[in-house]
């Protein structure tokens, strides 16, 4: 209930970050979108017992966050907030998979724990990549990229309109909830009936609002087509960025650099 205000502030904050001005910000959104998708697919393609091979992939978020001037603290905080979900999802693994895979002296680490940590690593990497994409590009620009990638227009238009009105609706909802909570005696969650009446009223107001928006659209000559101008350019920077990262991802994926590093060190120590 109290999340409403925080959530919309959160989204708005990411938009603010996206308005920053760094080399990365100025890159065409299409390049950033493709790179992010490549990253996620590569990370997720590791098998479930992968641990060390995944670690070099942290270089991507770290470099992007640094060069983009994004706040570490904020991203870490967001990660922490969503991490219980990942833990919940992976916690069964150590319980089910007890076979010892690695023996460190007298301590045996079971496959379950390895896959659990692997899940956590995977989660951190992919989630951070998505946050970074939005924080460096902005939702509207990402949608612009989607249109250029021939994602069906009605869907992208829907994304844009929906996004535009998130803040209006969450504001309205927050006000209604707050007003009702002043008259409620149970501060935890709203009662069922109050909820239904709240949602019902909100829905009616939303329908009215839709009618008013439609009216405004008609008054400005709306004919069923939404036209958007976006000037986007792919330059050599975008090509270097995308291909550079792609090559690195492929390299890291198929050559276990940490393994080599570790072997090297052990060799030296011996």
């Amino acid at each position: 209930m109290n999340n409403i205000g925080k959530n919309s502030f959160d989204i708005g904050y990411m938009d603010t970050l996206a308005a920053g001005d760094s080399l990365l910000h100025r890159l065409d959104p299409r390049a950033k979108l493709i790179t992010t998708l490549l990253f996620i697919v590569t990370v997720v393609s590791f098998d479930k017992y992968t641990l060390s091979a995944m670690t070099p992939f942290f270089i991507y978020p770290i470099v992007l966050i640094s060069f983009g001037g994004l706040p570490y603290g904020y991203i870490l905080k967001k990660l922490l907030i969503v991490s219980p979900f990942a833990i919940l999802v992976g916690i069964f693994n150590p319980l089910m998979d007890r076979e010892i895979l690695i023996q460190l002296g007298s301590i045996g680490i079971s496959g379950g724990w390895i896959s659990f940590i692997s899940i956590i690593l995977r989660f951190v990497l992919t989630v951070t990549a998505a946050f970074i994409l939005i924080s460096l590009t902005g939702f509207n620009a990402v949608c612009g990229a989607l249109i250029k990638f021939c994602v069906p227009r009605p869907f992208v238009i829907q994304l844009l309109f929906f996004y535009r009105y998130i803040f209006v609706l969450t504001d309205e909802t927050e006000r209604m909830v707050r007003a009702s909570s002043f008259r409620a005696f149970n501060s935890k969650a709203i009662g069922f009936r109050v909820f239904v009446s709240l949602i019902g009223n909100l829905l009616l107001r939303t329908l009215d609002r839709s009618e008013r928006i439609y009216r405004a659209m008609c008054c400005r000559g709306f004919d069923g087509h939404i036209r958007i101008i976006r000037s986007m350019k792919i330059g050599y920077q975008e090509i270097i960025f995308t291909f550079g990262w792609a090559l690195l991802f492929i390299f890291l994926r198929y050559s276990n650099v940490p393994l080599k590093l570790g072997t090297l060190i052990i060799g030296v120590l011996k």
């Binding site: 708005g12 938009d15 603010t16 308005a19 509207n140 949608c143 844009l160 309109f161 996004y163 535009r164 009105y165 803040f167 209006v168 609002r209 008013r212 928006i213 009216r215 405004a216 659209m217 008609c218 008054c219 400005r220 000559g221 709306f222 004919d223 087509h225 036209r227 958007i228 101008i229």
Partner: protein, 259 residues
């Protein structure tokens, strides 16, 4: 670009649920006039405004905008002439960025990309918010939203500007800025408002609506002095014309001290 008159002849309109909206409304507004439309809530102001660009169609009577008598066929042409600014900017700013919103109208009218960009820049500069071009609407203040709403309509180069409660929910400074801005517009202006002080500042003529009928149509200053009329139409004198509470109270205290 000549005589952009707005003429209504005997308009009648009833809502789908049976409520009477307008009853026998007739008026003639000449090119360049500034007319305030006042009346209590439910008097029919918004209903009347919505007829002026064909969003609502009267059951009886005609509307003439410039050279056109309003029909279903010339709606697009009329909407190019009549720019309407609504009360709630959030209903009017529905695109991802300010630029997109202001470009919406011209794009629908079929201008090329270059022309659209030119028009958008002009409109934004006129209302003084060119620097907000890339902002999403939710990051604007009420005053800024109001300005952008006006820009969205200006970009279509209308001849007639129709506004519904433009100063509502504006803070005092934004309100003054808006009034100053509107004073510079040469368009024909029809402004529905509760802000009678603004009506005095901006509009030399006022039409008073009451229960769907026009009960008065004349010089603003004259109408606002007619206390009987104001009372019948559930209105009050503009604050400017009322007794100043500070001055009147100091007079009495002064008198007391003197005694």
């Amino acid at each position: 670009m000549s005589h952009h008159i707005v003429e209504a002849v005997d308009l009648h309109y009833t809502y789908p649920d049976g409520t009477v909206g307008l009853e026998g409304v007739s008026f003639h507004i000449s090119h360049g006039e500034s007319v305030a439309l006042v009346g209590e809530n439910g008097a029919g102001k918004s209903t009347l405004l919505l007829h002026l660009n064909g969003y609502l169609t009267a059951w009886q009577g005609t509307i003439q905008i410039g050279d056109y008598i309003l029909t279903k066929k010339n709606l697009q042409a009329v909407r190019r002439c009549v720019g309407m600014v609504f009360q709630n900017p959030d209903d009017q700013l529905f695109m991802p960025t300010v630029f997109d919103d202001v470009a919406f109208g011209p794009l629908n009218l079929g201008f090329t990309q270059d022309e659209v960009e030119r028009k958008v820049t002009e409109a934004l500069e006129t209302v003084g918010v060119e620097h907000l071009k890339k902002r999403p609407p939710y990051k604007l203040s009420q005053g800024e939203k109001r300005s952008v709403s006006i820009a969205t309509v200006l970009a279509m180069s209308p001849d007639i500007l129709v506004m519904d409660e433009p100063t509502s929910s504006l803070d005092p400074k934004s309100r003054i800025q808006l009034i100053e801005l509107l004073k510079t517009f040469r368009h024909t202006k029809i402004i529905a408002t509760h802000d009678l002080d603004m009506a005095m500042d901006l509009c030399e003529r006022t039409i008073v609506l009451h229960q769907g009928k026009i009960v008065a149509d004349g010089l603003t200053l004259k109408l606002f002095q007619d206390e009987d009329l104001l009372h019948r139409s559930s209105l009050e004198k503009p604050l400017k014309m009322q007794k100043c509470p500070v001055c009147s109270s100091s007079l009495t205290t002064h008198t007391t001290v003197l005694r």
